[in-house]
Assembly symmetry: C2
Homo-oligomer: 414 residues x 2
């Protein structure tokens, strides 16, 4: 019993049949004695339909007007959910983002939530209503409709849960939880019963696209207990929380990977202040995101700097680096767009030294050469030849015993 925020994504509400199933889940939570706030996305396909119409009129549709257009998607869903809830005898009320004062900045298409006035929702809950809020949208201080960008419904749910001090925030999606790695690559991959916010952030940013990154940050910041659950089948899902002291932490919680990067290296860079800046500035000016950056020790008063970019930016980044050979000067620019990045993630790494070297030995045993290494407190990433990706992921999954559940399962849907 408590206050639950439930979020249902586009595939979960993708048809009238699916809406029936979602409404059954909402009613179950309500019947268990909870106050329920529901956040929904547009029906699967609807956002694309609207985008296509806009692109049928303009190559570069005005961002303010795109938000007016796209926000109709969730608005339809909230109404349909409430129509069914009410016809089944449950008091409920729908709200657009603007109606419950989800105040954002004015960055159309990628707005950030600034504040939420939860009074209206609280009043409805006190009167026994189920409240259904349109995800992904809000309005700025001028009353213009804004959207948070794709996946923003997760953020809406977490922000509402934080504002309402909800007991849990359940993200219903088309997968039944967060996995130790992608089951398409390692069939022995196992759903995690728990994962920490920090680990989830590392997993999400590395390609395990279950939750929108910003929503995980938000949940961590406001300590909102987050659950990832399947709307297609019952199951305990994955709970994302802060690390609990008494919990036995696994050393490695999961293995993330990314095949969509390319590596660039500039060799013979002068060992002087500002060199790295002069290399990365033109890249950043061209709006190219840089992921891993590695600089090695100085040898013969010069050094080598490597970094990775999205694979689609590879050619452009190469062109931007070429002039540096003369201007820096540097020795050469090389690159490789057939790489992959594998990361092992786990808060247990903090207290277990030697995890990185175990990772390297596992890869070496499979004959996989490591091109770059970076580490953070709870993650070690390596860049390797992309053809070894699957082999590497499977070897690491086995070596760190990820197919075995480290903690007993707790059914958090009850």
């Amino acid at each position: 019993m408590g206050l639950w925020v439930q979020k249902y994504g586009g595939t979960s509400v993708g048809s009238l049949e699916r809406i029936h199933e979602v409404v059954e889940r909402i009613i179950r939570a309500k019947r268990q004695g909870n106050d329920v706030v529901v956040v929904v996305s547009a029906m699967a396909g609807e956002t694309n339909r609207l985008i296509e119409m806009a692109h049928g009129l303009s190559f570069d549709p005005d961002p303010r007007e795109m938000d007016v257009l796209l926000s109709t998607g969730e608005q339809s869903t909230i109404a349909l959910i409430c129509i069914l809830l009410i016809s089944k005898g449950f008091l409920s009320r729908s709200y657009t983002g603007a109606q419950v004062h989800i105040r954002t900045d004015s960055a159309h298409g990628k707005a950030r939530i600034l504040e939420i006035d939860e009074k209206k929702i609280r009043a409805d809950l006190d009167e026994g209503r189920i409240v259904v809020v349109a995800g992904f949208q809000g309005s700025d201080s001028e009353g213009n409709i804004t959207t948070l960008g794709r996946g923003g419904s997760d953020t809406t749910a977490v922000a509402l849960a934080a504002a309402l001090k909800a007991d849990r925030c359940q993200i219903y999606t088309d997968v039944d939880g967060v996995y130790t790695t992608d089951p398409r690559i390692e069939p022995a991959a196992r759903r995690l019963a728990r994962i920490t916010f920090e680990e989830m952030l590392e997993m999400a940013s590395l390609g395990a696209k279950v939750l929108q990154l910003r929503s995980v940050e938000f949940a961590g910041k406001y300590n909102v207990p987050l659950q990832v659950l399947s709307s297609f089948e019952d199951g305990p899902g994955t709970l994302i929380t802060y690390e609990e002291k008494e919990m036995e932490q696994p050393v490695v919680s999961g293995i993330a990977f990314n095949k969509n990067e390319a590596k660039l290296t500039i060799t013979g860079v002068p060992d002087e202040p500002g060199a790295a800046y002069r290399i990365l500035q033109p890249i950043s000016d061209a709006n190219i995101d840089v992921d891993v950056i590695v600089q090695n020790t100085v040898r013969d008063s010069s050094t080598d700097l490597s970094f990775t970019v999205q694979r689609e930016d590879y050619e452009h980044a190469l062109q931007l680096l070429e002039p540096l050979i003369e201007s820096l000067p540097a020795k050469a620019v090389t690159g490789d767009n057939k790489i992959a990045k594998i990361s092992i993630v786990g808060v247990g790494m903090r207290s277990h030294p030697g995890i990185a070297s175990k990772m390297f030995s596992v890869l070496a045993k499979e004959g996989i050469n490591i091109q770059l290494v970076t580490t953070s407190e709870i993650k070690t990433s390596v860049v390797i030849d992309e053809k070894y990706l699957e082999l590497g992921v499977r070897a690491l999954h086995a070596a760190f015993d990820l197919e075995k559940a480290p903690t007993e399962e707790v059914d958090l849907t009850k």
Copy 2:
């Protein structure tokens, strides 16, 4: 030059191609030096699509939630219009009903506009923007989304024109004006260059479904010059204004008709106070609309009372009257659901006596028997056997010279 409000209905914006044409019209008005406010409906078919979805979930969808759902239709259109205007280099901004404070009562699905705050629109016009407003919708004092009911976009346009003191309110639709009668029945029917608000009200309520009745009332009340124009072809349309003293008025402006009624008669009703009330009260209690009511003079201290109802209510109304034979008492209840009503409408009738008798003689010459007659200041209606409807309309159209234009044409689109 001035401030023009243009309203485009669902068929006028029914496809991306049609939106292109509408935007060309808007730009033409703007280029002529006018401030332009545009009101649009949902794309043709969209409202029905949404209604079908709702009915897929509930036989009796909640009215508040239906309004949340249906209002997305116009919201999509305003965004698409603005996307195209902006991509063609015209400053423009879209607003939902709630955003420009189209304040209504809370009668979901048939709300009435209470007030409009035109400041936001005025500020945009002052900055050179074309303002595009969603028709058919508003919000109540609690911020709930409301809709005005089908055809409500006409009312939005007229209400905005009144609030902004617009120089004209142009209603673009799929017909090129108001006709002397239905051209499908009388091919010689002629588009009227002008018609008065009062005549238009009589024409509209009698079945000439060009404009929503409420919008004409509204335009008359606030003296908003209303133009009905085709969005499919250029043309002068029909101007709806107050009667101008210096204008030569035609005696009869148009012929309206209705085939969807049925007649009921109760004979031998006692000539005593309250008899008519006791007959019509059960009808009204059953939510059956009564149109024409005719009571004739007393004969042998009893009278006969006839009235018409929508044809679908005929059987029900008959049942409700049966018990009155005993309780009133009355002599008999009879009825006929194969009738039609024909009305001649014209402000000139005020100053031309004998129009009604001319109507009767025209019908008599064709052998058409008149069952009921009612008259108002600017209208005479007769109920006849429905099989004579077309014959009667054509005979009257010819007799009152309606195929000839009484006033010279003025091109009001310039």
